[in-house]
Point group: C2
Chain length 191, copies 2
């Protein structure tokens, strides 16, 4: 993943059980070594369910394009996806919390953490950080032209890939910036 | 969703239970009325688990931008997300299968279905289509500038939104096209 799409937009979903049924929630994640972190409101069902020690499945997917073949059934998608399984723990040590939130910010906007208004106690109480060592993971990648059946290639229709990627728009300063500060570099791929 | 992002790239994840643990899998989906469809290899664990009648959670998320506030904890994301719950059924009627796969193709590339090499029996056996009436759904949207704490707005750092969107790359014809056919219009947003 690192090589091919470091700065691509990733949508991550965390799946877990709430009262015995699967619930899939979008969230951000970040990684330090072999530990994956995510966070949420301390009061949320997600955090309470995750902190209770059940197993979760964390899936990240980036779509790279539609693959148009000559038969409907051979249509596909170019994508990169990782599925990780493990049992999260709630991060309770304030030093670990601060260190990992800094790592999160450094991933999004390097250098920003140092310039921010420091966290206060109310904020630290309201937000919970979850950590998961990855017990098991599987990655899938498709990056190829259509896989048509032999003989189908000459069917009279266009075949190939319609690529798609993540692009950054112009930064939108809020009304308090008043031209005093530069926007940070976008963390998204430029192409 | 329809109004704001009809042609945005959507990453959908389906969460379900396999041997009692949550598993979250990326897939395409399409909708006809109040029924959501997805498909997979007939032999896959996902299809077998879904066809067995357990409840699933289907989550679609589009990220629209990073929201940079003056404190770390007030950072956020602009996004649109829908979570749907229901119990899928396997589509077994060949006419329903064909009609819904045509609807799927019409969503991706309007008009393409009619020009394709028609499905054969082997293909129809190898691919399973799942249908789910939506029992329960919830949508979440954030589309706003940073929500800073009162007094934080003047902290000396840039605040605002770093927008992100889905962009189409140039179509990549495969080697059999040889300039004979035009690529279809991209189904992705152009900006």
């Amino acid at each position: 993943m690192h090589e091919r799409g470091r700065y691509d937009k990733e949508t991550i979903h965390v799946g877990h059980l709430i009262e015995g049924r699967p619930v899939v929630i979008p969230t951000f994640h970040w990684r330090v070594g072999d530990t994956v972190f995510w966070h949420g409101s301390s009061a949320s069902r997600m955090v309470r369910a995750n902190a209770a020690g059940g197993q979760v499945c964390l899936t990240v997917t980036i779509m790279d394009g539609y693959v148009l073949a000559r038969s409907g059934y051979n249509h596909s998608v170019n994508y990169r996806s990782v599925m990780c399984f493990g049992t999260p723990r709630l991060v309770t040590d304030p030093d670990e919390t601060m260190a990992t939130l800094k790592a999160f910010m450094d991933k999004l906007v390097p250098g920003r953490w140092e310039g921010l208004r420091p966290p206060n106690e109310r904020e630290m109480k309201a937000t919970a950080v979850l950590a998961m060592e990855i017990d098991e993971a599987s990655a899938k990648v498709r990056a190829a032209p259509p896989g048509d059946d032999p003989g189908d290639e000459t069917w009279p229709i266009w075949g190939g890939v319609l690529p798609v990627h993540t692009a950054a728009g112009a930064p939108e300063p809020d009304k308090y910036v008043e031209g005093r500060f530069e926007a940070p570099a976008t963390p998204f791929a430029k192409r």
